[in-house]
């Protein structure tokens, strides 16, 4: 029977000096059900939290702003797979996040429509709905790596990206209900109910494509930090256009040219000109483990892990180099693949104690290959800063320390 050990078969045994202890949790009763009626992570995971970036990770001359006009970063190094837990989803506010009573909140649809509509949150949830998994990335993500590599951790440099399953109602359906004037409609102005009533203009072609009004995030109601009770989801596009705490959609024939689509979120080229409406977050990948600030505890086998995503559709491949970009191999795709969602990749690797430089490179369904920072700089000049989707290199020192390097 199983109780008879195959001692004869056994390979050399490291005679452990001690024998296994029976820990206290196997000898005493645990916590009852409903100890937490809404559960939380184990206290041993207390370091896996959102954080402001390390001051060292901020660009020179960067003036840290008020905490209501700021951001906190997702702890990417500790995450796995496709979904970012709601409690760890990155934060970015322009006037703090409001605590909205859903009974008092409404969505207004007006402008170039036959009927102005007011829709309550309760009623909105009764429309035909969709569930979609999409990443959201702040266009300022990886800013500290623009031109220089100033960040130290993957959380602090790249942690303004997260991914969730969103549930909501397509704009195309709501606009049909309002009777949109398709001949004249060119843009829709989306506006939040937060303090600064964040507003952005979205081309009507995009709005009628895959944009929707979301009310749930990863199965439960939207988090207040992400727009409770309603937000816009503009798949593949920069975070700030996915208007949170959505209160109003005005169909127009003109863009608003709001402060956050002129003064902010536009990209200066090298010739004094700037690009407006660079909405799409291009294909990007980053190795999350090993990553900056980590120390490999010993030589041996490690699974390299990372995330890849593209605002243009599905990730089709990720390549990994462990020699600073000289040679590349195709990584395993270790999660389900959804268009415009985070896709996980893994790559088997031995740390031999010699210096190594790990880089990953995403390729999306359009054939686009993630560029080096220098290639972006060449095309765009040094005044850019948003929309940095360049490759991240991590140097593994002989003592196992991992740090952010330029290649």
């Amino acid at each position: 029977s199983g109780a008879i050990l195959l001692s004869s078969l056994k390979q050399q045994v490291i005679a452990a000096p001690k024998i296994l202890e029976v820990p206290i949790w196997s000898k005493s009763i645990g916590n009852p059900v409903l100890h937490h009626s809404y559960g939380l992570p184990s206290n041993f995971e207390h370091q896996v939290i959102r954080r402001k970036s390390n001051p060292d990770d901020a660009p020179v001359e960067y003036v840290p702003s008020l905490d209501q006009a700021s951001r906190s970063f997702t702890p990417l190094a500790d995450l796995r797979g496709v979904i970012t837990p709601n409690g760890l989803f990155f934060e970015r506010y322009h006037g703090g996040y409001p605590n909205i009573d859903p009974q008092k909140h409404k969505l207004i649809i007006h402008g170039l429509v036959k009927r102005n509509l007011e829709i309550t949150v309760e009623r909105l949830k009764r429309y035909p709905s969709i569930n979609k998994i999409y990443f959201l990335e702040c266009s300022g993500n990886s800013y500290s790596n623009w031109g220089e590599n100033e960040g130290s951790s993957v959380q602090g440099i790249h942690g303004l990206v997260s991914c969730a399953q969103w549930t909501g109602v397509p704009l195309s359906l709501l606009f049909r209900e309002a009777g949109i004037d398709l001949d004249k409609a060119k843009y829709v102005i989306a506006e939040g109910a937060d303090a600064p009533s964040m507003a952005r203009s979205i081309a009507i072609t995009r709005a009628l494509d895959d944009v929707f009004v979301a009310y749930a995030q990863n199965g439960e109601a939207l988090r207040a930090e992400q727009g409770y009770p309603l937000r816009l989801i503009v798949p593949g596009c920069e975070g700030s256009i996915n208007i949170k705490w959505l209160r109003r959609l005005e169909v127009t024939d003109t863009p608003l040219f709001s402060r956050n689509e002129t003064s902010k979120y536009t990209d200066l080229l090298g010739n004094d000109m700037a690009r407006n409406a660079s909405l799409i977050m291009e294909a990007k990948s980053v190795i999350i483990a090993p990553s900056g600030g980590q120390i490999l505890p010993e030589k041996g086998f490690y699974e390299i892990r990372g995330f890849a995503w593209s605002g243009r559709g599905s990730i089709t491949a990720v390549d990994v180099s462990t020699d600073g970009g000289k040679n590349w191999q195709r990584a395993n795709i270790s999660s389900d693949i959804f268009p415009k969602a985070i896709t996980e990749f893994t790559f088997p690797w031995q740390f031999t104690g010699e210096k190594a430089i790990l880089i990953s490179r995403a390729i999306d369904e359009t054939g686009y290959v993630q560029p080096y920072t220098q290639q972006l700089l060449k095309s765009r000049g040094h005044n850019y800063g948003y929309h940095n989707n360049s490759m991240q290199a991590w140097e593994i020192e002989t003592n196992g320390r991992v740090q952010n390097v330029i290649i």
Binding site: V63, I119, R126, L256, L268, A277, P371, G381, I407
Partner: protein
């Protein structure tokens, strides 16, 4: 109960049809046409007074910037290749004066947004545009003339034409940016207004 007949043209009959008047308090956007500007007017001196009361704590005297607080509201270095990144100031960078009105109306003062009256906002816009050397000091700003102001960087924007890099997925013995002969690609610029559906373009 169902709102009888209120929704005969809606497939799902879940929206309530409301009037334009009903929406007014929320309909605060001011686009470059200036059509939605509220009636009102304001001068530099009026603006200065309000600014020094309600804005200076965060944005500093004359918009020179605070400590850890609001952004600089002054004209700043040329928009050329410099480090650190050039400041996208109102005078140098913003394409429309209506944006300043729209933004202050919706978002400022930071802790008590939407507390300013239209006249106060016109005055603040006048004050800031004058400090930014956009208009002359004696202009009285009103709902009639605000949209007519031509901002210096009015034509400073082009459409997004990404992808602007065309990296190849080299697999073996590849060059890296530090190696001689590595292909960095080229400078990609355009003034096309119609390449991308997302471009922000005023109606012709």
């Amino acid at each position: 109960p169902l709102l009888a007949n209120s929704c005969t043209e809606q497939d799902y009959c879940l929206g309530i049809v409301v009037s334009d008047t009903y929406i007014t308090p929320w309909d605060i956007d001011v686009d470059p046409s200036g059509h939605s500007l509220p009636k009102g007017s304001g001068s530099y001196d009026q603006g200065l007074a309000i600014y020094n009361q309600q804005c200076i704590a965060c944005h500093g005297p004359q918009g020179k910037g605070g400590i850890r607080m609001g952004e600089k509201l002054r004209p700043l270095p040329q928009l050329v290749n410099i480090t650190p990144l050039p400041h996208k100031s109102i005078g140098r960078y913003w394409p429309y004066a209506t944006t300043l009105f729209d933004y202050i109306q919706r978002a400022m003062p930071f802790y008590t947004p939407k507390s300013l009256k239209p006249d106060q906002i016109y005055a603040l816009v006048a004050y800031l545009l004058i400090e930014n050397n956009v208009i002359s000091k004696d202009v009285i700003l009103t709902n009639e003339n605000l949209a007519e102001i031509k901002m210096p960087n009015r034509n400073g924007f082009v459409c997004d034409i990404r992808p602007d890099t065309f990296n190849l997925a080299c697999m073996q013995d590849c060059l890296t940016p530090k190696d001689k002969g590595f292909d960095l690609g080229k400078i990609v610029m355009t003034d096309s207004k119609s390449l991308q559906a997302d471009c922000l373009l005023l109606p012709e």
